[in-house]
């Protein structure tokens, strides 16, 4: 093992190398480009034996990865924002075809207006495509989530989207453990698909399917995704035993006695952690719930983590216009019918389009939460006032 200072893009590329991906197709888009460049170098230097396809669009990227995956290869790509959106119809296809593709999304707000900066509006829009969604806090987590991603994907035969925050992860350097590939080999066996494209044994894949057959296919996807919770837990546990890093589907941090639980995802969890540490030193009963898996949604873990809370504040770096932040909706929906259903679940919108979520921002959120604000509409933080 080697500990190297690197940014999130490099860490993601190392994750692909250690997973011994066999085919990668890519199209450059900021802030993901570093991943593709690093992968190209790994392949050119011979460190990774893989086919690198330079595609003419993200749509073609996903189309070629679908084909390569059907042929039995372990495949990887990364994208951002408009690129992810361009893949949209094929994301459904990849999941429906039950292909264990792992893709990194380095998130970036959807335009217009044109922007390069971080928020989750790109990946959130792909929530219902049938992929597993993993949100990373740190660069190490991105590397680990890719290796774990294949471990899980190849058991449940569903694709995995690993999200890291543009700029905050992609361009920020941190120490990252790069494991010995032999150790990763022990954790992640070679991909051996139950069904693959074989010219010697031709079968039609995903042909026209009538109403009398379709629902059962969807139900099996549902089943696989439900089962993915346990598989992901196990994969994370085994990973922790070998490599020393464990994440869980969620992480409850100081939640046992918390009156107020802050809920977040992605790189802003690091900021929340700082604030929670500081407040708890001062004796304030504030906890943090980090949601790592958005799909499958860890309903039980969320219910457990907020069991003692008087108030829950969900901070969303995205907004579903007309409703509110998506993590907020998900948490509220998970709590409905549970014993904590009548506790206030506040929804905060912060950090859109790359605006920094600082400890000061979190202080404001805590302050507002304590003032019993409205619960049914999202609260926009650090928005300029009207004149």
């Amino acid at each position: 093992m080697e500990r190297i200072i690197m940014n999130g893009n490099s860490a993601a590329a190392y994750g692909a190398v250690l997973s011994r991906v066999q085919v990668t197709a890519a199209y450059p888009i900021s802030p993901q480009t570093g991943i593709v460049e690093a992968l190209a170098q790994h392949i050119a230097s011979g460190r990774l034996k893989a086919k690198f396809i330079m595609a003419e669009s993200e749509h073609s990227v996903m189309a070629s990865l679908i084909a390569a995956s059907e042929a039995g290869a372990r495949v990887f790509t990364a994208t951002s924002s408009q690129g992810l959106a361009l893949m949209h119809e094929l994301l459904h296809w990849a999941a429906g075809a039950r292909l264990p593709i792992v893709m990194v999304n380095v998130n970036r707000a959807m335009s217009a207006p044109w922007t390069m900066y971080c928020d989750q509006s790109d990946i959130i829009a792909q929530r219902d495509t049938g992929w597993l969604h993993v949100y990373c806090e740190q660069n190490q987590e991105a590397l680990d989530a890719i290796i774990q991603g294949y471990k899980v994907a190849e058991q449940v035969m569903l694709p995995v989207l690993v999200n890291m925050d543009g700029y905050y992860n992609s361009y920020t350097t941190e120490p990252v453990d790069v494991y010995d590939i032999e150790d990763v080999d022990r954790y992640l066996p070679p991909y051996n698909p139950p069904v693959k494209l074989d010219p010697n044994e031709p079968h039609t894949l995903h042909g026209g399917t009538g109403p009398h057959l379709f629902m059962e296919m969807r139900y099996q996807m549902w089943e696989a995704m439900e089962h993915a919770r346990a598989v992901a837990q196990e994969a994370d546990e085994e990973f922790g035993q070998i490599f020393g890093h464990r994440y869980g589907l969620t992480e409850a941090y100081g939640c046992e006695d918390a009156e107020l639980v802050l809920v977040g995802s992605g790189s802003l969890v690091g900021t929340l952690r700082e604030v929670v540490d500081e407040r708890r030193e001062r004796g304030e009963r504030i906890g943090l719930l980090k949601i790592r898996y958005l799909r499958p949604f860890p309903t039980q873990q969320v219910r457990q983590a907020v069991a003692s809370a008087q108030q829950i504040a969900v901070i969303d770096r995205n907004v579903s216009v007309g409703m509110g932040g998506v993590f907020w909706q998900e948490v509220r929906s998970a709590l409905y019918g549970s014993q904590v259903r009548d506790r206030p679940v506040l929804g905060f919108i912060a950090g859109l389009g790359g605006r920094d979520v600082t400890p000061g921002t979190v202080d404001q959120i805590i302050q507002i939460a304590r003032s019993n604000p409205p619960q049914d509409v999202p609260i926009w933080i650090e928005l300029k006032e009207r004149r």
Binding site: M157, V195, P199, H203, L205, L213, Q220, E223, A224
Partner: protein, 449 residues
């Protein structure tokens, strides 16, 4: 509502894979985990939709078609690229008895017509030829002739040597008459001589003569020769005028016409073949070879004009191939079209990127060198040059057809591609992506196997 059972990935049952039975999916457990057809799609013979038929057919590169000697240039260059040095030397030596000479003194019509010349720079074919000439080889073996003839060759210039070489290879008893002390004729005296290092010509001639023919260094008259030989070739009256004289013999009277192509009616009784002089060296070699192969065909009872149509190269009746003659004699017709693949017929957009080679190839070739006229450096240079060859008209296994076939009906094994016509829909993508026009296309109804 289905209860939650133990999760597993339901594979399609293997036993159904070739069946055409309707599939019953009554229970959830009958479903495969992904939407894969449970019956084979082989029953659907989509090849029936085909209007155009693509098929593999080796063609002629312009270099081959331009070589007066009848060298199979692309064949030996690509055989080098494939890493088979000795096989490449065999191909070279089968057609050309003097490659070390022509590699140095030829006027190189092959390079002038090389397609790559229009792209960037021509292939240095002469260089490859000269180096390959120093690699061990096995001489071409023709089937025995029913009646070996006594043949006299007068003079030992390039045409005479080529004639003598092929006649001897074709199992005739050859006697070479040369008044000078050393063989080689104008190769030794002419302006080409200065391009040939000391001893090279001797070695090359020794490879031709060896134990296979008698050499006499005395002057001899035509009448004397006519009495003893059934075929006489060379500068009988003067070195500038090559002739073939057939005095008659066991099975032929001196007056019987010989149906040699290009010979006028009044000449056939005593065919002499005067040719335009002075011939260039490679033209002279090609001419000696041309006469030898057709004379042998005549003696074997074949019609020379007919034979010529079978063994000519690139549709040019003045160029013949010994390998094609061997194929004719052994009844193994070559699956090769003589259509010349000119520059406009190449698909340069689909050309594969330059490939690298294993340095082991150079070491292997070094072990096969027979002289000091080629070194490791020469081998390296020539190998690099060979890799530049476009391989016009000759499949070099670039895999484009195999990769691009949208129906995966092209199979690949041991250097051969095959199209499964039961399923080929005739989209012709394979022909469109072949950089070197190996794939031909014909209307299905005109195809007759």
């Amino acid at each position: 509502m289905t209860t939650e059972g133990e999760f597993h990935i339901r594979k399609p049952p293997a036993t159904l894979s070739q069946s055409q039975q309707p599939v019953s999916l009554e229970a959830l457990d009958d479903y495969p985990y992904k939407s894969v057809a449970l019956a084979s799609t082989r029953a659907n013979l989509t090849g029936l939709w085909r209007y155009w038929r693509p098929y593999y057919q080796t063609k002629r590169a312009p270099c081959d078609a331009a070589c007066p000697v009848g060298n199979q240039v692309v064949d030996y260059i690509q055989t080098v690229v494939e890493g088979h040095w000795q096989k490449a030397a065999n191909v070279l030596r089968s057609e050309n008895p003097l490659p070390a000479v022509t590699g140095r003194v030829c006027h190189r019509p092959c390079e002038l017509s090389c397609n790559r010349r229009q792209y960037d720079q021509r292939i240095a074919i002469h260089d490859i030829e000269a180096v390959l000439a120093e690699i061990q080889f096995e001489p071409l073996r023709f089937p025995p002739t029913p009646v070996p003839r006594a043949v006299a060759v007068v003079g030992s210039g390039p045409a005479e040597l080529a004639f003598a070489f092929f006649m001897a290879s074709l199992h005739h008893a050859v006697t070479l008459f040369e008044t000078a002390e050393a063989l080689g004729g104008r190769l030794r005296a002419g302006p080409q001589a200065r391009h040939l290092p000391d001893g090279l010509l001797d070695a090359e001639i020794e490879r031709i003569v060896g134990e296979r023919m008698a050499v006499q260094h005395s002057a001899v008259g035509l009448e004397e020769l006519k009495a003893k030989y059934e075929g006489i070739f060379g500068g009988v009256h003067s070195p500038e005028e090559l002739m073939l004289v057939l005095p008659g013999g066991r099975d032929r009277s001196p007056d019987e016409p010989v149906p040699f192509p290009g010979v006028g009616a009044h000449e056939v009784a005593q065919p002499t073949l005067p040719i335009r002089a002075p011939l260039r060296v490679s033209e002279a070699i090609g001419y000696g070879k041309w006469v030898a192969l057709l004379l042998d065909a005549y003696w074997r009872g074949l019609n020379p004009a007919d034979t010529l149509s079978h063994i000519q190269v690139g549709g040019n009746p003045r160029i013949v191939s010994a390998l094609k003659y061997l194929a004719l004699l052994t009844d193994h017709p070559l699956q090769r079209s003589e259509e010349v693949v000119t520059y406009d017929k190449l698909q340069l957009d689909m050309l594969e990127s330059p490939s690298s080679w294993d340095p082991v190839l150079v070491t292997e070739a070094e072990g096969l060198l027979t002289s000091q006229w080629a070194t490791r450096d020469d081998l390296q240079r020539v190998l690099a040059e060979a890799h530049r060859c476009f391989s016009c008209g000759r499949c070099n296994h670039c895999d484009n057809c195999w990769v691009y076939c949208p129906d995966a009906v092209i199979s690949r094994s041991e250097g051969r591609y095959e199209i499964d016509y039961d399923y080929c829909k005739g989209c012709l993508l394979c022909a469109a992506v072949c950089p070197r026009r190996v794939l031909s296309v014909i209307e299905e109804e005109k195809w007759n196997g």
